[in-house]
Symmetry: C2
Amino acid sequence: MKTLNVSLADRSYPIYIGPALLGGDYIRRHLRASQVMVVTNETVAPLYLNRVVDGLSGLQVETLILPDGEQFKSLAVLERVFDALLKGRHARTTTLVALGGGVVGDMTGFAAACYQRGVDFIQVPTTLLAQVDSSVGGKTAVNHPLGKNMIGAFYQPKAVVIDTDVLVTLPDRELSAGLAEVIKYGLIRDAEFFRWLEVNMGLLLARDVAALSYAIERSCNNKAEVVAADETEQGDRALLNLGHTFGHAIETATGYGQWLHGEAVGAGMMMAARLSAAQGWLDPGLLGRIEVLLTSARLPVTPPENMSADDFSRNMALDKKVHDGQLRLILLNDIGKAILTADYDKQLLDNLLKEQCRGDS
Amino acid sequence: MKTLNVSLADRSYPIYIGPALLGGDYIRRHLRASQVMVVTNETVAPLYLNRVVDGLSGLQVETLILPDGEQFKSLAVLERVFDALLKGRHARTTTLVALGGGVVGDMTGFAAACYQRGVDFIQVPTTLLAQVDSSVGGKTAVNHPLGKNMIGAFYQPKAVVIDTDVLVTLPDRELSAGLAEVIKYGLIRDAEFFRWLEVNMGLLLARDVAALSYAIERSCNNKAEVVAADETEQGDRALLNLGHTFGHAIETATGYGQWLHGEAVGAGMMMAARLSAAQGWLDPGLLGRIEVLLTSARLPVTPPENMSADDFSRNMALDKKVHDGQLRLILLNDIGKAILTADYDKQLLDNLLKEQCRGDS
């Protein structure tokens, strides 16, 4: 078992990574009182809920099972969490446990941020994507029909418990989606890790335990460093959004849940790389390496067939990185070197969208 | 014009108190960009919205008018604020302006806390209650059918702009409700102010400008000191809740909006004082002074006729100050001296509820 630390003064917390952590005492040691509510979804519950509840024996444990899917990351479903907390008379000293992927983690974290103006919560991510990205760093949110993650809070968990055993049951498509965020760290700040991924993608897809553990640890390390330096995204934390402006537009335009978040980010990163090359900022020779790595991770590298350039423009205009009317994008100078800028050529972006979108033809 | 300061390190902000501030530049000087959304209600809009909008000429100003009343301080109405922000394409650099009483301030503040994980907001309170209490200190929330202020955030405004002119149009009942929170500061920490209120209640009810300004300033000063010492209510900030546990039970049980918040707090403070005396902690001779001051402010000193002891018990059990199953109450040792304790005699509380509740007979 490895322990990393997210350094945020009085909001610092550990990330535990290893096998067989679900039933251990890694949740229990971070509780403030005896009340716990484990929030999960209908896919994860039959697989892992009992293991977590058994590990909390002797405490006052309630469970709440939400529907599974990005389309349920809404204010309406969030209300069910508040209803359950109030009906169960959960006090300000209660702890919420988020057992699931990014949707469960984002919603449970946001519920914890708001319930009685803030109670403790612990992330227990069960997808690769949640383990390497969304469970670390305290970004919580729900979606709005007009934009992804538009309603939320920066609210840090008390601990992140990553049981690597759960990846055994993860569907292939979810594994690939998680690899998109893993590849992202290589692209934005860790060229050496990118090269490691080029060599080891086969092992990761074969679910080699050592390779997966290493990829999770190195990803969490990258994430923890970025978050510690810029908790509320005043600067460099935005680089973690490589591919996400294009990706969120895909998720919003196609309807939440059609494309997995990681799939949308995969295609989005490729679009960001292409724009960077068109701009002359990224060696076009590197486009091939990026495309090969994404493809080998079984991720899409082009947008959905039915999306138009206009679908992108309209949804990207609502991005949280819009600043004084200017849409800022994360672009690449090199593998391992990203920048946040509004200084790209808008015409090149238009050209890229038209060229990539078959929905226009 | 007087300026007070709420000292909270990088979250510090000014409170401006004086006449004719609405149309001045006190809002404008705290904007981060040119986007503004003024949120108000249907009662305040015809009176003061134009004055505020005129003061923001040249900026990109949108307005949103919500229904008026505590019963609309809900997640459903909050969604309308998010809808308007997204439809108006408000960016992370936008500023929300809360023009209204406690309901508008609490909801707008909570919307600001959540929109894009946090945007700026400015409080422009138009009721006495909001001016002396709810606009200062960063408590934001909406109600849940099972409990008041159960969903919210600690989120500080960038400024509080208190235009004392607006009290001219305030209904008598609202003026009295505000005086409940004014009297509260005297009871919990400012005996000298309590004596001043005993002498000057007539002037306040006659809306004497100098007396009202002094009461607002002294109340805000008390509030700012408490908040600066304990922003997130880990300790002494809870004392500001004198009468509120009884009061919230009244508001929840009678249906939000039947009793004004200040009226419920008035009756609640009297109940807290009676329990303190029954406990032997407060000189029973002081009960008369407290009752006279509340009555002279035209506030109720007994609970609603149709409430039963059980209505109180059930709703008080959901209070945010419940800790390890124990309900903590704010009680009085003296005028000007309050304590937070779970160490009172539960039987005396039961007796008090039965004696006070005519709904049981």
